[in-house]
């Protein structure tokens, strides 16, 4: 049915791919062999996706600004008011950065999955890669790696700056263990929390809804606990206070609220467990649900 036209374009096509126009058989076969795809392809794709939207730059930019800004601010205030640290580690002053900055990672995590639903991009993605679990896995890996790296850089920078600024305030020299906890520990914890947001985004499929849930998860235990004045609820209140995300986060800075709550690397295991369970749920639902 196509009448051959002696146009330049067609001649060029024929040179480039001889069987492009020939197609004698009933069915078209692409001249190029089809490769089997694997997780590596999905990772490359997700990396392109995450780095090519402005919201990534914005959220991470604000995150860095908050982490470094607040860390330096508190160090400077302490230094300028001549408050004595009384031998405490200066790293503890960094606790405020991740407290606020985590909101940025929540946003980025949720947007990584939920914005695909908001824009309809998810249909394109899942058409291009019907192995849905692979897409989720790739998103999780790319996001986690990015969030971990950025947080690690920020916490390390803030740590060094704080030690340098507060030298004259009688601050103690942080130990290697302390260093490890406020850099790697915090980064792992915060990145996992972001990953949890990503998975919630995949479950909820609505950006604003998922962000609200995650911020609620972050703040609600504290707020609820504050309203539990009644004596019989004391234990619940205690539990909520100790296991709320901000308290868990302060554990890494050696600023535990009490001795009964999680300590040491405990918060990390708690977060890891929550994330793993949510991942299983998100994976299962993504495979099962209609898009």
């Amino acid at each position: 049915m196509s009448t051959p036209q002696p146009s330049m374009q067609q001649q060029m096509q024929q040179q480039a791919a001889p069987n492009w126009q020939a197609a004698p058989g009933p069915s078209y076969t692409s001249p190029i062999p089809i490769v089997r795809t694997h997780l590596g392809h999905a990772l490359a794709s997700e990396w392109t996706k995450i780095k090519s939207v402005r919201s990534t730059m914005w959220t991470l930019g604000v995150f860095l600004f908050l982490m470094i800004g607040l860390g330096l601010l508190f160090a400077l205030i302490t230094a300028s008011t001549d408050t004595s640290m009384e031998g405490e580690s200066p790293l503890v002053l960094g606790v405020f950065g991740p407290m606020l900055g985590i909101v940025c990672l929540i946003t980025l995590g949720v947007l990584t999955t939920a914005s695909e639903y908001g824009t309809g991009m998810i249909r394109t993605t899942l058409t291009a890669c019907p192995s849905r679990g692979r897409v989720l896995m790739a998103k999780a890996i790319v996001f986690f790696a990015l969030a971990f790296t950025v947080t690690l850089v920020a916490t390390a920078l803030v740590g060094f700056a704080q030690v340098a600024i507060l030298e004259g305030n009688g601050a103690g020299d942080p130990t290697g263990e302390e260093w490890l906890r406020v850099t790697v520990g915090v980064s792992l914890y915060v990145a996992l929390f972001g990953l949890l947001s990503l998975l919630i985004g995949s479950l909820i499929r609505h950006s604003a809804g998922a962000i609200t849930i995650m911020i609620g998860l972050f703040l609600a235990p504290l707020v609820i606990a504050m309203f539990m004045f009644a004596e019989p609820l004391k234990d619940v209140q205690q539990f909520l206070l100790e296991y709320s995300i901000p308290s868990q986060l302060s554990v890494f800075y050696g600023a535990e609220l009490s001795s009964s709550g999680p300590s040491g690397w405990g918060p990390l295991w708690i977060m890891l467990g929550m994330t793993a369970v949510t991942f299983a749920g998100a994976y299962f639902l993504l495979e099962k649900r209609d898009v």
């Binding site: 914005w58 604000v62 800004g69 601010l73 400077l76 205030i77 300028s80 707020v223 504050m226 309203f227």
Partner: protein
């Protein structure tokens, strides 16, 4: 005649979207709840406070502590009222229906301001009474000198924050950009400027810092602010008027 039509239309618009209910109720709940919380903490910590702190304790202002967070929800309300028109393309439909852009803008802002004032005033009174009840023996009474002014001022403050956000959103159009500028402005920059002694004097003239003054009944220790409560509110009003003029100029001039 045309103005009443615009106002009625804007009232329909504002009441028919869910974000209005969400942001305003969040503003009220957060302000009241946080104020109550801080009041509670103050009462419990009363005995460990220094005498100086006890002497300068301002029960009214303490019950308004929640406004620092509650105003963020007000900002979101103000921004969404305006920028939703732009992000959804509704602005073209609206301006085709009301080509007198000044009437349109001020009709919209008037309706949203009225609503924000009603909610803000109610929130302010509620926060005051809840806070005072929580404070117990250290509380102030509405009849005390300056207290009624502070409570009404709290409502005005929240309203002005919302109007300022509306005006800024009209100039910037996008909700993300507007929030991205307003949130750090009120949440971080103003705080940082006030915290560092070198910039403290500049920080005082920012809208929120100046407007805050109206809610204080007992001035803080060694207070050297060059303006009084109404003076502070006046400074805030100047900011708002400037933003509104900017918004008017922008909507008049730019293509929709």
């Amino acid at each position: 005649m045309a103005t009443t039509q615009v106002v009625r239309s804007e009232w329909t618009k504002i009441r028919s979207v869910a974000s209005t209910v969400w942001t305003l109720s969040l503003a009220a709940v957060v302000t009241v709840a946080l104020g109550m919380l801080i009041s509670l903490l103050s009462r419990n910590e009363w005995d460990s406070m220094s005498t100086r702190d006890q002497l300068f304790f301002d029960p009214t202002y303490t019950s308004f502590a929640g406004m620092s967070l509650g105003q963020l929800a007000m900002i979101v309300f103000g921004v969404l009222v305006v920028s939703n028109e732009y992000s959804t393309g509704m602005i073209r439909t609206s301006l085709a229906a009301v080509p007198q852009r000044g009437t349109f803008l001020f009709g919209k802002i008037a309706v949203a301001t009225g609503l924000a004032f009603a909610v803000g005033l109610a929130t302010s009174f509620l926060a005051f009474f809840v806070g005072q009840t929580t404070l117990g023996e250290h509380s102030a009474s509405i009849g005390d000198e300056g207290v009624l002014r502070a409570v009404i001022g709290g409502g005005l403050y929240m309203t002005l924050i919302a109007v300022f956000s509306m005006a800024v959103a009209t100039m910037l159009r996008g909700p993300m950009l507007s929030l991205g500028i307003l949130m750090p402005f009120f949440f971080l920059i103003s705080g940082i400027l006030a915290a560092v002694s070198a910039t403290e004097k500049i920080g005082r003239f920012l809208p929120d810092q100046a407007g805050n003054k109206i809610m204080q009944v007992v001035p803080p220790v060694d207070d050297d602010t060059p303006y009084g409560p109404w003076g502070g509110l006046g400074i805030m009003v100047l900011w708002v008027v400037a933003a509104l003029l900017g918004a008017y100029a922008v909507i008049k001039k730019r293509d929709a």
